[in-house]
Symmetry: D3
Subunit: 308 residues, 6 copies
Amino acid sequence: MTAPRYSGLATFMRAPIAEALEGIDIAMLGIPYDGALTNRPGARHGPREVRNQSSLMRSINHATRIDPYALCSVADVGDVAFTSAFDIEASHRQIEAFVADVAAAGALPLSCGGDHSVSLPILRALAKEPVALLHIDAHTDTWDSFQGSKFNHGAPFRRAHEEGLIDPKKTVQIGIRGAQNVSEGWDYSQSSGMRVMFIEEVRAKGIPAIVDEARAVLGNGPVYLTFDIDSIDPAFAPGTGTPEIAGLTTAEALDLIRGFRHLDYIGADVVEVSPPFDVGGITALTAATVMYEILCVLAEVRAASART
Amino acid sequence: MTAPRYSGLATFMRAPIAEALEGIDIAMLGIPYDGALTNRPGARHGPREVRNQSSLMRSINHATRIDPYALCSVADVGDVAFTSAFDIEASHRQIEAFVADVAAAGALPLSCGGDHSVSLPILRALAKEPVALLHIDAHTDTWDSFQGSKFNHGAPFRRAHEEGLIDPKKTVQIGIRGAQNVSEGWDYSQSSGMRVMFIEEVRAKGIPAIVDEARAVLGNGPVYLTFDIDSIDPAFAPGTGTPEIAGLTTAEALDLIRGFRHLDYIGADVVEVSPPFDVGGITALTAATVMYEILCVLAEVRAASART
Amino acid sequence: MTAPRYSGLATFMRAPIAEALEGIDIAMLGIPYDGALTNRPGARHGPREVRNQSSLMRSINHATRIDPYALCSVADVGDVAFTSAFDIEASHRQIEAFVADVAAAGALPLSCGGDHSVSLPILRALAKEPVALLHIDAHTDTWDSFQGSKFNHGAPFRRAHEEGLIDPKKTVQIGIRGAQNVSEGWDYSQSSGMRVMFIEEVRAKGIPAIVDEARAVLGNGPVYLTFDIDSIDPAFAPGTGTPEIAGLTTAEALDLIRGFRHLDYIGADVVEVSPPFDVGGITALTAATVMYEILCVLAEVRAASART
Amino acid sequence: MTAPRYSGLATFMRAPIAEALEGIDIAMLGIPYDGALTNRPGARHGPREVRNQSSLMRSINHATRIDPYALCSVADVGDVAFTSAFDIEASHRQIEAFVADVAAAGALPLSCGGDHSVSLPILRALAKEPVALLHIDAHTDTWDSFQGSKFNHGAPFRRAHEEGLIDPKKTVQIGIRGAQNVSEGWDYSQSSGMRVMFIEEVRAKGIPAIVDEARAVLGNGPVYLTFDIDSIDPAFAPGTGTPEIAGLTTAEALDLIRGFRHLDYIGADVVEVSPPFDVGGITALTAATVMYEILCVLAEVRAASART
Amino acid sequence: MTAPRYSGLATFMRAPIAEALEGIDIAMLGIPYDGALTNRPGARHGPREVRNQSSLMRSINHATRIDPYALCSVADVGDVAFTSAFDIEASHRQIEAFVADVAAAGALPLSCGGDHSVSLPILRALAKEPVALLHIDAHTDTWDSFQGSKFNHGAPFRRAHEEGLIDPKKTVQIGIRGAQNVSEGWDYSQSSGMRVMFIEEVRAKGIPAIVDEARAVLGNGPVYLTFDIDSIDPAFAPGTGTPEIAGLTTAEALDLIRGFRHLDYIGADVVEVSPPFDVGGITALTAATVMYEILCVLAEVRAASART
Amino acid sequence: MTAPRYSGLATFMRAPIAEALEGIDIAMLGIPYDGALTNRPGARHGPREVRNQSSLMRSINHATRIDPYALCSVADVGDVAFTSAFDIEASHRQIEAFVADVAAAGALPLSCGGDHSVSLPILRALAKEPVALLHIDAHTDTWDSFQGSKFNHGAPFRRAHEEGLIDPKKTVQIGIRGAQNVSEGWDYSQSSGMRVMFIEEVRAKGIPAIVDEARAVLGNGPVYLTFDIDSIDPAFAPGTGTPEIAGLTTAEALDLIRGFRHLDYIGADVVEVSPPFDVGGITALTAATVMYEILCVLAEVRAASART
């Protein structure tokens, strides 16, 4: 690790490649799948490029002074290896199985997508009961069928609700924006009890107030964190399939994540990085940094729980 | 319209192609002209790329819940077809004629440039009396002759004032910045009575206060809205001919537009998108979204006036 | 059409938009579908960008002096409008139906993909009997199932053979190259009787000899021409999903097409343009020019048959 | 000059900046003008970027062993400073005056455009009688008025013929290709006696035969060399306004230039480099190398004439 | 200077090229050196591209109304000409000598790097006693040896402290952020008495308060200003070797510089612009504007001191 | 390996990561070092991006039908881990040690650079006696000191000759071109007995004749193959530090490599890929394919020697 950061095989944040799942506290994995998206493709290439840019990450967080590698055993456990990439449901089963193995081995999964549909099979693998959902995104992803599939990337949290994987009363969606052709997804979120924080509300109240309110919604039980890179403004993260201008700044995004320390996380993901639409790698760099900040938060929680 | 958004001919926001000008409430048109600019060219390609990126737009505004297509008949009426592209004044006459036809047919024109000189012939077509001007830009565009032409893209609002098309007392210029070799343009704006809001003032006061003050200037009469994409910071909109750093964020830009609802608009334009200098299409995406937000405001006003 | 070439809505080669299918000799259509590809995505955006770059095309061919617009009625008939984009077979049925309508109206279809799987439903729509196939490509596309689907973009001509749509004895595949993990596709082509011309043979013999030999294979009956942009070297056409270096030059590609005049064409396609992987639009420009050259050849044949 | 090549102010090929025109054998100048082009703009930025990339050039030609700096005094004399950039004819007068000054001081001008219209005023400055023209281009540039101006960049050599600046019988146009909407320009060239070598003829005969035939046309009198970068294939030179695929390779281009040694040159230009459409600077690099090869040829002739 | 801004040789801000060092108030120089950086290279190309983009700069500052050219004699004195580019210490000696010459001639040096290691030899040339340091950066650059050299670009201010060139009690570091593998550099800064303002503190307090506090630290004696472009967020300045997200906005950066008027400057630099990693030239544009704003501040001070 | 090619950690050609050096026939390694180059940097990032693009490679060569993985054990053994990156000689010692370990374990090294200086320490590790050198490049790399170091990337084969690592009588340099400031390097190659084949000779004679003549030079003893990506034309490989136009086509490059089967190789390298200057990844793709073709040749030889 004294070698220059541009050398060596690109793993997530230069973490070691896992030889087995055992003994890992936090398992970083790639889900190179974008078969469920509806517009500009390329998220299948996300894990590769996030790994690439993540070589710029280092260990000690300047703001929180958390060093995740000092607290936990962290490894790159590779990618889900798809064998039915044209079949959404079969692919989702492979994601579920991979994440279930990670969880069974005792590791917290930190996944890198892939389109947002991947959060559904992850939740199937992890949620033993309806969990709290901390959802940072430009879109509520609670829409219904599109192009004939109810498992498209605009629908995972509607399905998760229907399947009893998430508790809508403990679900908060932050950063929502962008015109829609029907209001059905927004309506579904709100009528099911989810707390939808549109971007205007986020900016008007400021991150600290948003964090406070969101923490009240999330409660003290198990929480899953899902971070869609399109929550961030396209100036900072152009490489995504459905960009919406006037989003979160990266400063706001990091402040959000740092605001959600000490929750009982069961896992997390960062999704929708589409390298073919990126410019200069800044989206992958942003996603890598977001993953690093989430890693810090997960590591702190994991280390604390190990001590108790 | 159930087809994927990347399919079909690229019209502005996937609006139907007008077969005739009659029966249209809001006519979106392209003005592929950049013969009057003084520095980096390419705005002639603006309408093409804004149409392309505008396929990502949808109908219901998440912030205002306006659905312009539910309120009005909206169409893409095509581009001004230039036949004397090397002659600024002849080209301006063609723009004026095209917009006059749109207005004569009863439609509100929402134009996509093109360099900023195009606003002058548009105003000639629309302004029956000196109108109020809501001008969002990095530059006052009230400079005088450059390279021998007084119709260059830095001069349209000086000419508009001289020609009695705008009322300087009802003119507000928001977002002004960037060094200049002489102060003459700034001085002209201010001495003629225009209200020049430099970007530092905008940031210091905040958008709501700026909106209040600007509305007081604009008054209740007919208003023309002109939006130069270089008002927005180059991080969000690099694809323009005369970028100036430290500009409006896209969030501020959208808040501005939403602040100017319920004015008596006679038309609007978005100009100076230069695709050859864009990166990853984000300037065209930003311009498309700005056009969509203006469309919402225009549609609301138009629908209200239709009801009365 | 006297307006500058960068103005107006982008149709294929600035051809008029068809208001109906009747009365068109050659119908250019887009098939924005890439749901069957196996590697780098983006061909769904192909028709949009080929239309965009095709504005640079003009009418009189400098080499053959064919002016297709003088010979035939040519129009842009729009895109196949998919409603089940996640389902390969359903999407193929929509392609087939669209092309069947074109053919029923009496027009020759010149399609722009999309991934190469789209040639299969086109052939289903057009081939009343096993037809000759002129196939220019880096890959034989006669492989079998991949990722669980036998309709993937590496398999269309195996399926076409199985379905009796093409006559392998009258099939020629030109430009084949690139390592493969198994030799099965190459073997299938050759054992079924197709004439496979690897790129080394093409270069060694030269285009005139290749044309002569290929024409002997194709015979005098109905011929379908399918042109995969990856047949061309990535220096000339980088924007494609499965690039293979050391391919055809564009000069060779044009010489090939011009060598195949006066065949009894039933249609043609140009596929696998992936704009997100393009640089500077040169792949779309190349594809547009290839489409133009094919249009010349089709128009000449069509006009001749109309006279007889 | 021992400093790294990326250091220092960017002059053409790192040549010294002229303090005066006297005492210079070959004067390299920039003509940052693109006001006469008809399609994609940006050639105004050509001189800047060609200077930038030309830092990669060095002195001794590996093929001919000519070292132009050992043979001649070579300098960068700066750019034409336009003051009426919106007026084609006024701008042409400024170009003519600048080049006339260079010639009056006894230097051979080697110009970097700019759009191709600039060759007309250069010829006005240099041609005391109808001169031979060696014209390498994709287009004959002998078309007539476009968009109302007969001085557009597709017309300079028609005007030059009309004005008696070039002798059509001693004019050769090499590399012509690309469809046209009318055949008038091609016809004009041929009917006036110019020798038009379409790209297919160039490839069929090979460069040595083309050179022989062209030299016979050019004769022994004064010759002007004009090189449009779009003569070269877009794979090698994508950054130009009117690209046409299947053009010259750079190897063919260099072989052409080297084939035209020992002519009685009165000057030369390289035009139509449009940096906003370039990718990775390769067009500017190609143009810089073409300029260097022309410089070698000019220097050899100049040194020889100095000795006699 | 009435010529279009894209014409002429690219000097810093179109300032005249110095023929001698005498008589210049402010000397702008390039230091094309990146031999001491540790990650992504390319800063050696910084001066060239900053000069290129700086043509967009003009004279009168819209915010402060300072016109540096009216106040002072400003010139571009060229680049340090390296002859031992592989040897950090020898290269540093050449930088020191060049800057010492500038200072000896009575000019204030405003340098454009190059990697951040160049500030050390600049300080050696300028600091007659320990000076105050105004340091805007994402990194403290007070780390120790890396890859065997203690003169790497992460260490200049540790060395400057050790060599008695800066007074740590009068040193303020603004904008610090980004994880580190060890905390040693941060600790060194703080334990030596430097005031480290992490980006979170900057955002929480706001620029005016930061300026006030920093001015108190800097005191009234001689001050050197060093501006690392990576202090600015990668959305605004992606072209740098060690980007860290969530940095200063350009608006904040300009407000900072304008906040530090009327200090007793001995020189300034802008460093770490890496054009190969830039997109659309916006980093170089940002750096050019930052240089312009610093030039305004320097000119005001210089003119004032000349009057006294 | 049935997973999609874009998934998984990026190793060279998706080969397995070596856990130990034993039992490997051909070891692919990265040398992320560019500390010895003299112009545009970035080759340090070469191995990372070549690995990335090499996922597009597959196993069976379509031209030779060699399947290297069927013939040999092939693995990715990682990168040389530098600890003194600012010191050319120390870095060279680390390269030498790494390659010596590979050779000691019985594997043939196939290296990916890095700048061309890396070939010198590789030869030190491999050459027990003066070996034959098959050198494909635009430059002879037999120049002397530059910027004070005789180990710069333009000098490795002069040093190799001086150190008795290569036999100049068995050295052939193919593809040489590009102007030089002095002829010394060319002269050194020729006077020392190396066979220098300038690109013009290569094109004039054609690849088969060049191969025949080169094989005669190389003889039957041990051969090292070094392939500088700048031997290939910048249209096919723009991403390199010292591009020279009019180079080899990729077709010629592959024909060259295939022409050199059945030599007694001791190792090979592909160098000078500079990703920051690449466009669309095509240089890395080209380099990956060149590596694959060399791998085929090495594997064939290795398997044959294993059988004997």
